[in-house]
Symmetry: C2
Subunit: 236 residues, 2 copies
DNA sequence: CCTGGTGTTTGCGATAGCGCAAAACCGGCC
DNA sequence: GGCCGGTTTTGCGCTATCGCAAACACCAGG
């Protein structure tokens, strides 16, 4: 197994405040693995045995109900951790992680966690911050679902994706991994049909350009405007 | 200011793994305060200067949109922490905290936080667990809002409240603080009108008994059944 | 080049729940 | 004991969005 260069990960929030030689020790406890597109990294409900740091690619974390409906909890971008079940005291993974693109991850056994935070308290503090940030995002999402209509929610979702994983183009921003109408529906609490209708509408207004599992924001600012619309159409 | 007896708080999750004499030192850094019913403890957007531990009473954390709509993020029960903005790296409180009942809290200045987690790493770990638990709850809530209809969401909300803050009665469980239809609407992403209709319906079926800011679950099991209903009425 | 399969578009009816409005209720305060 | 303000109840029309169904488009593989 190839050794991971510390310089690749030293700047990540997770390791802020960790000394370089400590970092080397930390990385020695991890192994790396590659997951091809559309393979599962772990399944919801499985015993949580490891936690992960995404190096390359994109991972979708999704939760499934007993009746089979799914929601997307989040998309993981390179540099972010996921599968932190142990850190937050859960014995099982609360969601399923799927590589939506060929992905490379670092994997630590859960048994390493107590030792890590004991020796490097900064890691606990950093993790607390990122989990806290995710909590805030969740609350924002709940707020949106409670108070906004579908079109605005979709707009917000796309803007967040563009910010997190957007590739700047000559004219516009492309979301940098395969994402379907269904995925967006599962992020915003609606159906793929409604998402499709909305995107079609936006496309005819030149706001976006999209196709099979591919979305380009041609007019990000226009989408921001949509996202912030109060609710009254405003079409004089 | 009266000194806080360590035995009152020693068993709380926050202090798990902290030695009794350390605990005393920790408590010395806090002051306590009393907030009468319906007074604000802090406002959304204000500089986060302190974090809190609720000793008695009940606190509602709510988020407001720019346009004035509100959602209830959670109800804080005695023994729980709130206002952890600093711990999660936020310079401002992301929500407003209101004492919904006469409440007593311990208050630490944020400046104490770095020192605390430095000297007592268990506190960081414990906080990570509770924040993680809240994150999971948020995800569950998002899942519910995405996949269930209003009646089921209200059922789930009441059950959670009953579990967290229910007072056992001879026959039924009473939610132990004043809560209005509007509050429940803001927890479930609906309107007070719809909540009122639902509770009226349940009342006529003997499932609940309720009045002004007061709810008693007379048949908790019946509500569980409702909460788990797939969606098809089933009235054949 | 053809074919299968997944993802997308679109039409059309059905409806859960909203939004507004008005009335009834309730509890505490003066 | 009566008044006042917040809370709750209820009616009624409306509409955003779902749900189903069918037709399409596109990519990958053979």
């Amino acid at each position: 197994m190839a050794k991971v260069d510390t310089s690749l990960v030293a700047h990540l929030p997770l390791f802020e405040g960790v000394r370089p030689d400590d970092l080397e020790e930390i990385l020695r406890e991890a192994r790396s693995a590659r997951y091809p597109r559309n393979t599962a990294i772990f399944e919801q409900g499985a015993d949580a045995q490891s936690f992960f740091l995404l190096l390359h690619g994109h991972v979708r974390a999704a939760k499934t109900t007993p009746t089979g409906e799914q929601i997307v909890v989040r998309y993981v971008a390179p540099g972010e951790t996921f599968g932190l079940a142990m850190a937050i005291g859960a014995p099982h993974y609360p969601a399923t992680a799927l590589a939506v693109d060929d992905s490379v991850v670092l994997i630590w056994p859960n048994s390493a966690w107590p030792r890590l935070i004991d020796r490097f308290p900064a890691i606990a503090a950093n993790t607390l911050q990122t989990v806290g940030a995710r909590l805030q995002e969740s609350h924002t999402r709940i707020l949106e679902m409670s108070t906004q209509q579908v079109e605005q929610r979709v707009a917000h979702a796309l803007l967040r994706l563009a910010k997190q994983s957007g590739k700047k183009l000559d004219h516009g921003i492309e979301i940098d991994f395969p994402i379907s109408r269904q995925d967006i529906a599962q992020m915003t609490g609606t159906t793929l049909h409604t998402v499709s209708r909305i995107l079609s509408g936006w496309e005819s207004q030149g706001l976006v350009e999209s196709g099979r599992q591919r979305i380009i924001l041609r007019d990000p600012h226009g989408i921001v405007v949509l996202a912030e619309r109060t609710a009254d159409g405003g079409s004089a």
